[in-house]
């Protein structure tokens, strides 16, 4: 069965600190996709990144970076020099490709609070 675990329920940091959000997944598929979404206080879900199971290269986008390691089934998300605007709930998700529906299986989310 597919499963996504975000063990960190809530993280608090002070502005300019670096912070890493952990994501561990389980799947028997050999082909799958991993995602991160951001949910700011306004409530909408914002897509951040997609990574397929064949691409283990780390990705950097501005202050955001992602570390995908198949050996540990992890897809961690790091924010460098955090800002107050980064305060949000972050969800890691896994695509379920068994029946080709591309359903997303979400973790329970990590609430990040960045204090000035």
């Amino acid at each position: 069965a597919q499963k996504v675990t975000q063990a960190q329920t809530e993280i608090s940091v002070v502005e300019k600190e670096d912070v890493t959000l952990d994501c561990v997944y389980e799947t028997r598929d050999t082909t799958y996709y991993l995602f991160w979404y951001k949910q700011p206080p306004s409530g909408e879900l914002v897509f951040l990144i997609r990574r397929n199971s064949f691409d283990e290269q780390n990705e950097i986008s501005g202050r955001y970076s992602w570390n995908f390691q198949k050996s540990t089934s992890s897809f961690n998300f790091t924010i460098t020099a955090s800002q107050v605007v980064d305060s949000a709930v972050y969800f890691c998700a896994l695509s379920d490709a068994i029946y080709n529906t591309d359903k997303l299986i979400f973790g329970t989310g990590t609430r990040l609070q960045v204090f000035p």
Binding site: Y33, F35, Y37, G43, E44, L45, F47, R50, N52, F91, S95, A97, Y99, N100, T101, D102, K103, L104, I105, F106, G107, T108, G109
Partner: protein, 113 residues
């Protein structure tokens, strides 16, 4: 371009009443989804539709029904609402075959008393 719209934004509903949450997308995406978000549980899939005319059950389908008469609309119906259906409901869409990200609507906050 509106993307995905959901209506109503929020609703308070008496238990036992019927309610339809509306979802419309203007991106001509083939696949659409309904999720519910509950504190501590993340988002869970209720129903999905890979293309107009087809629907499927997700992780928590009981008490909900959907239809997909055309590409743009994917309404979610609660036939007889119960308090455990109090939640925030998100509609999402995806362009089609392949592993593309899903785009989410703004959500509907539903309270069943």
């Amino acid at each position: 371009i509106a993307g995905i719209t959901q209506a109503p934004t929020s609703q308070i509903l008496a238990a036992g009443r019927r309610m339809t949450l509306r979802c419309t997308q203007d991106m001509r995406h083939n696949a659409m989804y309904w999720y519910r978000q509950d504190l501590g549980l993340g988002l869970r899939l209720i129903h999905y539709s890979n293309t107009a005319g087809t629907t499927g059950k997700g992780e928590v389908p009981d008490g909900y029904s959907v239809s997909r008469a055309n590409t743009d609309d994917f309404p979610l119906t609660l036939a007889s609402a119960v308090p455990s259906q109090t939640s925030v409901y998100f509609c999402a869409s995806r362009p089609g075959q392949g592993f593309n990200e899903q785009f989410f609507g703004p959500g509907t906050r539903l309270t069943v008393l």
